[in-house]
């Protein structure tokens, strides 16, 4: 708890976030927060389809063929943020990775250390998997995200061109 954070919250002492793994019953809370995130991205000009919903959360986040895992943060027992991830690998550097595929902290819950606590939890999970790095991508106009991640010591990957192709086009 720093003076800076206390001041930023208008004198209110920060509340300690509580973080636990996601469960199927979190679908409504996660999707409510994810829709706030989508509205924020839209406001920055993101025109990508934003289709994540409770069915997708349950289908892809649980069961024998889960595509991602995640953690949810609570402040004062209210949903405050979440982080979704999956595992991966950097062949060249021979390094296990954790890919962060979504991270959001509710605007009303900011300045309580929720984002930092979620990233610290991702780092803990990464150590457990034997991963040496966290990787993720940021929508280019999302300056708030760059400031947050660069404040944690993250760097931009500059010498790779990212590509994709729909399977149906192959």
């Amino acid at each position: 708890m720093t003076d800076e954070r206390t001041q930023a919250a208008g004198g209110r002492p920060p509340l300690q976030p509580v973080i636990r793994p996601i469960a199927p019953d979190d679908a409504a809370d996660i999707i409510a927060m994810s829709q706030e995130f989508a509205a924020y991205l839209r406001s920055l000009g993101d025109r990508a389809p934003l289709n994540f919903d409770t069915k997708a959360f349950r289908d892809a986040g649980f069961g024998p063929r889960r595509a991602f895992d995640g953690v949810i943060a609570f402040v004062d027992r209210k949903p405050a943020g979440y982080l979704l991830f999956h595992t991966g690998y950097d062949v060249d550097r021979s390094m296990r990775l954790i890919f962060i595929i979504d991270l959001w902290v509710r605007e009303s819950m900011r300045r309580n250390g929720v984002g930092r606590a979620l990233m610290a939890e991702a780092a803990r999970i990464a150590r457990e998997f034997g991963a040496a790095e966290l990787v993720w991508c940021v929508f280019d106009p999302n300056r708030l995200a760059f400031n947050f991640y660069e404040g944690l010591g993250a760097e931009r990957i500059r010498d790779l061109t990212w590509m994709s192709i729909p399977v149906e086009k192959l």
Partner: protein
């Protein structure tokens, strides 16, 4: 003729899933890929070896999967991948971590055959897109992928961070 041993004799590539027995062949081909990457100026640390292939690709908690191409039983190329997910589009993906065709096996449809098999794997796992990163100086790769119809991802910046800073 395919006798099921990966030893068709008509010169066309045979694709199989990698097994622990492929460690030597994969890492030998990967070293040729590294020599190529270094020749075009990639300053990365290249650390993959047989131990990491075995430790990270197999066992209870594998970090990647892969396929290998052979022509007349000889290693001709490989593709390593892992599963991924795009939250915004609510879509399963396959993330290609490494693809290489041995210089001696070029122009024999090996790259195409690897892509064809990964397409089948994508269908079997409900993945709708393939994604990957290319070293920006690697014009050969950019040309190959754009020839397949792949697009460059605009307006996303990738970031990374060590779990335990030095």
């Amino acid at each position: 003729m395919n006798d099921g041993s990966g030893k068709k004799s008509d010169g066309s590539p045979v694709i199989t899933s990698v097994t622990t027995a492929d460690a030597g062949d994969i890492v030998a081909m990967w070293r040729d890929y590294v020599a190529y990457m270094q020749s075009i100026g990639d300053p990365s640390l290249f650390l993959f070896d047989e131990d990491s292939f075995l430790a990270d690709g197999f066992g209870p908690n594998p970090a990647f999967e892969g396929i290998i191409a052979r022509i007349d039983g000889q290693p001709a190329g490989y593709l390593l991948y892992h599963h991924s997910y795009d939250i915004d589009r609510a879509m399963r993906l396959l993330f290609i971590g490494n693809l290489w065709v041995a210089a001696s096996a070029r122009r024999r449809g090996v790259g195409r055959a690897l892509i064809e098999r990964i397409r089948e794997i994508a269908r079997d796992t409900n993945a709708l897109h393939l994604v990957w990163g290319v070293y920006s100086e690697n014009v050969l790769a950019l040309d190959f992928y754009e020839g397949l119809g792949a697009a460059r991802t605009e307006n996303l910046v990738w970031m990374h961070m060590p779990v335990d800073p030095d």
